[in-house]
C-alpha cells in the first residue's frame, strides 16, 4: 500500500485531532510571538525613557561641577554612578569627539570617530557642515546584538558657561593655577559661538530584561506545545468515542449487508449518529423482510412453474389411461372377470387425478391482497361470468343481495373464486336443472356478513364433506373429487379472511353458509 493509500486510512479522529493541534500551535505561536515582540518593544522604550531622564538628571547635577570646573568631582561622580541600575558606562565628550570623562579609564582623552552615528545625525560624514534638517537628532540608539542602549544627551551652551559666572575663590585660584601650568587656551571658558559643548553618553545594559523576556518566551512555547498536545489528545478520544466508533459500526454494518448478512443490529451511536444507526437498523430489517418476501415469491413462482409442468405431464397421459380403461370396460362382456380388473386400474387412475388436483390447488393459492370490498357486487359479478356456461342452462339463480351491506376487508379475486367454485359445484350437482339461491345479510351482533348459498342438487356424501375438513383423507369418491377439492380451496380462502364456512347436504340439496368478519 503506497503512502497515499495509507493516509486514506487515517481515521477521522486522528485527522481532526492533528488538525486541531496544528491550529493551536500556529495560533498560539503567532500570538505569543507577537505579544513578546510588543513587550520587548515596550520594555526598550520604557528603559530608553528612563535612561533619558537619568541622563538629564546627571547632566543637571554635573553642570554645577562643570561650571565650577571641578574636574575631580566630575570624575568621581562618573565612576560612582556606574554600577547602579545596570548603567554600564558614562562618558562625557566634547563637541570635537574627545572623551574628557569616562567610567572606562582607558577611554579618557581618546577620540571617537566622526563617522559615528552620533556625529552623522547632524553632520555630513567627515565634514563639519551641518545637515539640512537636524530635527531628528537621535537621543538614543539600540545595540541589539549586545543588548545595550546608548543615550546621548547634548550639553547645550549657555551664558553661564561661556561667561564663567561662578566666581568662587577656589575656581579663580584653580583657573590661575591651570593657566600657569599648562598654558593651554582650551582651559578658557567656552566659546559663545558653540551651540553644543559636548555630550553625556550613557550606556545601559538591557541584558536582564531581554533574558527575562527570553525565559518567558520559552515558557510560553512549552505551554503552547503542551496545551496543543492535551487538546489534541482529548479531542482525539472524544471524537473516537462520539464519531469514530459509531462510524466504524456503520461501516462494518454496511459491509455485512453487502455480504448478504442482514441479521446483526448495530449498536446505537450518539446524537445525529444515533439517528443514523437507528435508520440503518430499520433499513436492515426492511431488507431482511424484502429479501424473504422475494425468496417467498420466487419460491412460489418456481413452484407454480413446476406445478404447471407437472400438471401437463401427468394430466394428458392420465386422460388416456382413464378413457381407454373405460373403453375396455365397455367392450368387455358383463360377465367377463376382466371388467373388475379394468375397474381397479380406472380407480387408481382417478385417485392420481384427485391427488394431483389436491396438490395443485394448494400450490396455486396467491397471497391475499386485502382491500375494502362489497360482497354483494362480487357475487353479482361471479354470477354474470358463469351463468353463460352451458351447465347453467336449466338452472335458475335467485339472489337477495342488498346494495347497502357494510363492506369487508377482503381480497376480491379470491372471494370471487369461492363463489365461482360454489356455483360450478351446484351446476354439476344438478345436470337436469334446479335452483340456486344466494342471499347475503349483515349480522349486527356478531359484526359479520353472512352469505347463504343453497341449491337443489344431489346430496354430497358425508365422506366428501369429511374430506373437505381433512384433505389427506384418501377415501374413494371419484365423482365428487372435483367438488371436494374445490370446496377445500374455498375453505382455505375463507379461513384466510378469518371467516367461517359451514356446509350441509341432504336429499333436498346442499347449503353453504359463509360468514366474514368486517
Amino acid at each position: 500500500m503506497s503512502l497515499f493509500e495509507k493516509l486514506k486510512y487515517i481515521s477521522i479522529s486522528s485527522r481532526i485531532s492533528i488538525l486541531l493541534g496544528i491550529i493551536i500551535l500556529l495560533t498560539m505561536g503567532a500570538f505569543s510571538t507577537f505579544s513578546l515582540l510588543k513587550q520587548k518593544e515596550d520594555a526598550i522604550i520604557s528603559i530608553s525613557n528612563n535612561t533619558g531622564q537619568l541622563s538629564q538628571t546627571i547632566e543637571k547635577i554635573l553642570r554645577v561641577s562643570m561650571l565650577k570646573n571641578q574636574r575631580d568631582d566630575i570624575s568621581l561622580a562618573v565612576n560612582n554612578i556606574v554600577g547602579s541600575e545596570d548603567i554600564k558606562s558614562i562618558k562625557i565628550l566634547n563637541h570635537d569627539g574627545s572623551i574628557k570623562f569616562s567610567s572606562i579609564h582607558s577611554e579618557i582623552n581618546k577620540n571617537i570617530s566622526q563617522s559615528r552615528q552620533l556625529c552623522v545625525s547632524c553632520h555630513i560624514k567627515n565634514d563639519k557642515k551641518i545637515k539640512a534638517n537636524i530635527k531628528n537628532f537621535k537621543h538614543f540608539r539600540i545595540d541589539n546584538k549586545n543588548n545595550l542602549i546608548y543615550n546621548s544627551l547634548p550639553i547645550y551652551n549657555s551664558a553661564s558657561c561661556y561667561n564663567g559666572v561662578c566666581h568662587s575663590p577656589e575656581q579663580l585660584a584653580f583657573n590661575k593655577r591651570e593657566k600657569s601650568e599648562t598654558n593651554s587656551a582650551s582651559l578658557s571658558p567656552h566659546d559663545s559661538s558653540q551651540t553644543i559643548l559636548g555630550f553625556i553618553e550613557i550606556e545601559v545594559s538591557i541584558k536582564k530584561i531581554i533574558s527575562d523576556l527570553e525565559k518567558t518566551r520559552t515558557q510560553l512555547i512549552f505551554l503552547t506545545i503542551l496545551f496543543a498536545l492535551i487538546a489534541s489528545i482529548i479531542t482525539y478520544f472524544s471524537i473516537r468515542y462520539l464519531i469514530g466508533k459509531p462510524v466504524k459500526n456503520l461501516v462494518d454494518g454496511t459491509l455485512r449487508v453487502a455480504r448478504g448478512d442482514f441479521n446483526h443490529e448495530i449498536p446505537p451511536g450518539k446524537a445525529e449518529l444515533g439517528v443514523l444507526s437507528e435508520s440503518f437498523n430499520k433499513m436492515q430489517k426492511q431488507l431482511m423482510t424484502t429479501q424473504s418476501q422475494l425468496i417467498e415469491s420466487e419460491k412460489l413462482a418456481s413452484v407454480g412453474k413446476l406445478a404447471d409442468e407437472v400438471a401437463n405431464e401427468i394430466n394428458n397421459p392420465l386422460t388416456g389411461i382413464i378413457i381407454y380403461c373405460e373403453s375396455l370396460m365397455n367392450e368387455a362382456d358383463i360377465t367377463d372377470v376382466k371388467r373388475s380388473d379394468y375397474e381397479i386400474v380406472r380407480q387408481e387412475a382417478l385417485k392420481i387425478r384427485g391427488s394431483i388436483r389436491n396438490i395443485l390447488s394448494l400450490t396455486r393459492q396467491k397471497k391475499p391482497d386485502f382491500i375494502v370490498t362489497d360482497i354483494s357486487s362480487i357475487i353479482r359479478h361471479a354470477i354474470s361470468v358463469i351463468e353463460k356456461f352451458s351447465n347453467f342452462r336449466n338452472i335458475q339463480i335467485i339472489t337477495g343481495l342488498p346494495k347497502t351491506l357494510p363492506k369487508v376487508s377482503a381480497d376480491p379475486d379470491l372471494i370471487e373464486q369461492v363463489f365461482l367454485n360454489l356455483l360450478l359445484n351446484s351446476s354439476e350437482s344438478m345436470p337436469a336443472g334446479g335452483i340456486v339461491n344466494i342471499i347475503s345479510s349483515y349480522l349486527s351482533d356478531e359484526k359479520e356478513i353472512e352469505i347463504a348459498f343453497t341449491d337443489t342438487g344431489k346430496e354430497i356424501p358425508s365422506g366428501v364433506l369429511q374430506k373437505i375438513l381433512d384433505p389427506t383423507n384418501n377415501s374413494n369418491l371419484e365423482d365428487f373429487e372435483k367438488i371436494g377439492i374445490s370446496l377445500t380451496v374455498c375453505k382455505d380462502i375463507i379461513e384466510m379472511h378469518k371467516g367461517k364456512i359451514i356446509i350441509n347436504s341432504s336429499g333436498i340439496g346442499t347449503s353453504v353458509i359463509i360468514k366474514l368478519p368486517l
Binding site: N315, I323, E326, L350, S390
Partner: protein, 136 residues
C-alpha cells in the same frame, strides 16, 4: 340421426385419441371426430368445413388459447367451443393474473373441460352444449 361433427384441437396425441375413443367408441351416439394438433390446422379446418362443436386446448404451440378462440369466433361466431385445460384444478380462476383475456375467454367459451376427464364427463358436456344449440 344426423352425424354431429366435432373438431378437437390439442397438442397431445393421447388427448386427441381419448376424445375420439370416448365419443365414437360407444354405440349410442353418432359423433364424428376430426383431430388436429396445431392452431393453424384447426383454423384451416374450421374455414374449410362445418363443425357442430370444437374442443380447444388453451395451451397450443405458437398462439395462446385466448387468441385462437377469438379467431375461431371471427370465422364462425356461433360455433360452440369447449376449452380444455390441465393447469387448474377445482376451477380456480386466477382472475387477477390475466384480467381481461380470461374474462374474454370465459365469455367466448361455451364450456370448460378440465383434464383429465372421464368418458362420462366429456360425453355429458357434449350433450349439454348441443342441447342448448338444438334448443336455440
Amino acid at each position: 340421426m344426423k352425424t354431429i361433427k366435432i373438431l378437437a384441437i390439442d397438442r397431445e396425441e393421447i388427448i386427441l385419441k381419448s376424445i375420439k375413443k370416448a365419443l365414437t367408441g360407444y354405440s349410442n351416439t353418432d359423433y364424428s371426430v376430426t383431430v388436429c394438433n396445431t392452431a393453424l390446422d384447426g383454423l384451416k379446418l374450421i374455414r374449410s368445413d362445418t363443425f357442430d362443436l370444437v374442443f380447444l386446448d388453451l395451451v397450443l404451440p405458437g398462439l395462446n388459447g385466448a387468441e385462437v378462440l377469438r379467431r375461431i369466433k371471427n370465422i364462425y361466431p356461433l360455433i360452440p367451443v369447449i376449452v380444455m385445460s390441465g393447469f387448474t384444478s377445482g376451477m380456480n380462476f386466477n382472475l387477477s393474473e390475466k384480467g381481461n383475456s380470461v374474462n374474454e375467454t370465459l365469455n367466448n367459451a361455451a364450456g370448460f373441460l378440465l383434464k383429465p376427464f372421464t368418458t362420462e364427463e366429456i360425453r355429458s358436456i357434449v350433450s349439454r352444449t348441443l342441447a342448448i344449440r338444438i334448443g336455440n
